[in-house]
């Protein structure tokens, strides 16, 4: 792969200010690290998944890539251009090439605009309103599998799946190179979830898109993502090929996440790794390995020393005692 990646994220950090001025005097931290050193690349036609539980920083990272959230350190290169230093005005033309889909399928559509106006919105914003928008709207509706009558409807008249399709039509309107989708199947029924993922997959192949998908649903990740990163407290704890990670998770947190996924099979033997304790607060990050408070394999060194980064060919993780990479697959036999 000599082609340059569409998106290259290097050591990105995002901090949020918290509390009052007084907290500084009381020697409490005045900001929290929501994203702590994220690095990954996405190439044309590739899907990268960011996986993690609430508060892991995955949505914040996505907003940072999209320029909605300033970063405090690191670099984000989109189509070879550094975007963290660009002003809002200079960022505007780049937004044509990078679209973001938000979690709530209906809530991310402006309620007083018709579907036709919503789909025409990107063209109007980027000054291409003179083109025949009516036929553009029709073309995009057809592309996402909606009939032209939908142009006259309002968001509240759509089902979740239909609203999601409108969101996809908006996202691909200006021929982007990258789509960032935040929980694209949140709030959708299982029977509709497949339709939306299939549509995204098809468009990715057809239009050669690069995609970043944010989700907590590991089953979805398994089917659609080429590579993935698992986030915990704003850090990438394990990054690699999806298939390989599912077969042999090396970080204990990844393994616990995979085992915590209830499967629709009542007879399945469940070798579950249950995680004790609660997720620590970002205001009080644990010392040493940040996962040691919940890790079933934690040892003395994990409590005191920050684990090194293990770099293997196409696997990257931070753990003192990675689970054997050539261990037996996690999936148990049916009893």
């Amino acid at each position: 792969m000599s082609e340059a990646p569409v998106l290259a994220v290097r050591d990105v950090e995002v901090t949020f200010p918290v509390g009052s001025l007084l907290d500084g005097i009381r020697s409490r931290p005045r900001s929290i690290l929501a994203v702590a050193g994220a690095s990954f690349e996405v190439r044309r036609g590739e899907t990268f998944a960011l996986v993690g539980e609430s508060g892991s920083g995955k949505t914040t990272l996505a907003r940072a890539i999209n320029g909605l959230q300033p970063v405090s350190a690191g670099s984000i290169r989109f189509e070879r251009q550094e975007i963290t230093t660009l002003s809002r005005i200079r960022l505007r033309p780049l937004r044509r090439r990078m679209s973001m889909m938000f979690q709530d399928p209906v809530g991310s559509l402006s309620p007083r605009l018709t579907v036709g106006q919503l789909i025409a919105e990107p063209f109007r914003i980027h000054g291409r309103g003179s083109r025949d928008l009516g036929s553009e709207v029709k073309r995009l509706l057809a592309l996402v599998g909606l009939s032209p009558e939908f142009a006259g409807r309002y968001p509240h008249q759509l089902s979740g799946g239909q609203a999601r399709r409108v969101g996809v039509a908006r996202a691909i309107a200006l021929d982007p190179a990258l789509i960032i989708a935040d929980e694209p199947t949140a709030g959708l029924d299982v029977s509709v979830q497949g339709e939306v993922l299939n549509l995204l997959g098809e468009l990715r192949t057809r239009l050669g898109l690069a995609m970043v998908i944010i989700t907590h649903n590991l089953h979805v990740v398994h089917h659609i993502a080429d590579r993935m990163a698992v986030m915990y407290l704003g850090r990438f704890v394990e990054t690699g090929e999806t298939e390989a990670i599912f077969t042999a998770p090396a970080h204990p947190y990844t393994k616990a996440l995979l085992s915590a996924n209830p499967e629709p099979n009542p007879d399945k033997a469940r070798n579950r790794i249950s995680l004790p304790a609660e997720v620590p607060s970002l205001l009080a990050r644990p010392a040493g390995c940040e996962f040691h408070t919940r890790c079933p394999w934690a040892q003395a060194i994990c409590r005191s020393r920050v684990p090194p980064v293990h770099e293997e060919p196409d696997r990257r993780l931070t753990c003192h005692f990675p689970l054997s990479l050539d261990a037996a697959p996690l999936t148990e036999e049916t009893a």
Partner: protein, 293 residues
């Protein structure tokens, strides 16, 4: 957008308007309010056709006449035809009410959007300003302005705008703050929409509804302010007819003729009731919490 789609949107809007109208008419008070408002507005608009005499023509021989076929509502202390004066007074009352409400809406919306969507310091500054203006009693404000600029219609309009703008801006600000973090505003930002466009296309249409209802309920208050200021001699100057000045004339001459007070007061009461009933019905019809009842 093609002509066909905008036509469909137009018809939809018309349909929504008719549906709301039907809901208003279904409420007895709403129908009464709408009837009164239409009656008053009609009388003011067609004052030139309906008036039976020049409202400012003095006729000393016809002072304090009781209602008759010639003078429907009688005459005042200068022998002016009260029916015609009430009609033209309605023009002034409505012009002041609608005009100053419109100006208040414009300023209130702009300041409210700025406070709600702009930086925090601007919000704090504007809120301080609104509170400062709000803390003056209306009459004090009116007196201060008249002392500075002399009594005139403009003074009335300025006082009304000053009284209304802070509450209108606050309504817009609160809702704008709520919408600022909504996903569809974030979606517009991520597409690269300018702030002006976000405010115009995505924020304003979603915050203006409650404000319009609030404003329609404020119209009777404005009419009362105009009448009150004219009554006190701070508003419309004689001989221009105004409901407030008619009321004042009647008050001064109540021993000669009780008619004048009634002809000055009745239109104020009817208009106030009409707009209040209409405004309250509109609020109920558009309140989503009451929908489906």
């Amino acid at each position: 957008m093609s002509a066909a789609t905008s036509d469909i949107a137009g018809r939809r809007a018309a349909g929504a308007f008719l549906r709301s109208l039907r809901k208003v008419l279904r409420e007895p008070l709403g129908a009464l309010g709408l009837g009164l408002v239409l009656f008053v507005v009609g009388a003011a608009v067609f004052a030139d056709l309906l008036a039976t005499a020049d409202p400012t023509r003095i006729s000393p021989r016809d002072r304090f006449l009781a209602p008759s076929a010639e003078h429907f509502l009688g005459t005042d202390q200068l022998g002016r035809d009260l029916f015609s004066r009430v009609l033209y007074g309605g023009q002034i009352a409505l012009a002041v009410a609608l005009g100053s409400t419109f100006v208040s809406l414009l300023i209130g919306i702009v300041l409210g959007l700025l406070a709600g969507y702009g930086p925090r310091w601007l919000d704090n500054l504007l809120i301080l300003l609104f509170d400062a203006v709000k803390s003056f009693p209306t009459v004090m404000l009116a007196l201060a302005f008249v002392t500075l600029f002399g009594p005139s219609l403009t003074a009335v309009v300025i006082v009304v705008v000053l009284v209304n703008v802070p509450s209108y801006a606050r309504v817009i600000r609160t809702q704008t703050i709520a919408l600022k973090s909504s996903e569809y505003v974030a979606a517009a930002q991520s597409m690269g929409a300018s702030t002006a466009r976000i405010l115009r296309v995505h924020v304003l249409p979603n915050v203006i509804g409650p404000l319009l209802i609030l404003a329609s309920m404020d119209i009777p208050v404005v009419i009362a302010i105009e009448a009150g200021m004219s009554f006190l001699g701070l508003g419309v100057r004689p001989p221009t007819p105004s409901w407030g000045t008619i009321l004042n004339d009647g008050f001064a001459n109540i021993r000669e003729s009780a008619w004048i007070v009634v002809t000055g007061g009745l239109p104020i009461i009817l208009t106030t009731l009409g707009f209040t009933f209409l405004g309250e019905t509109l609020r109920d019809v558009f309140d989503p919490r009451l929908k489906g009842r």
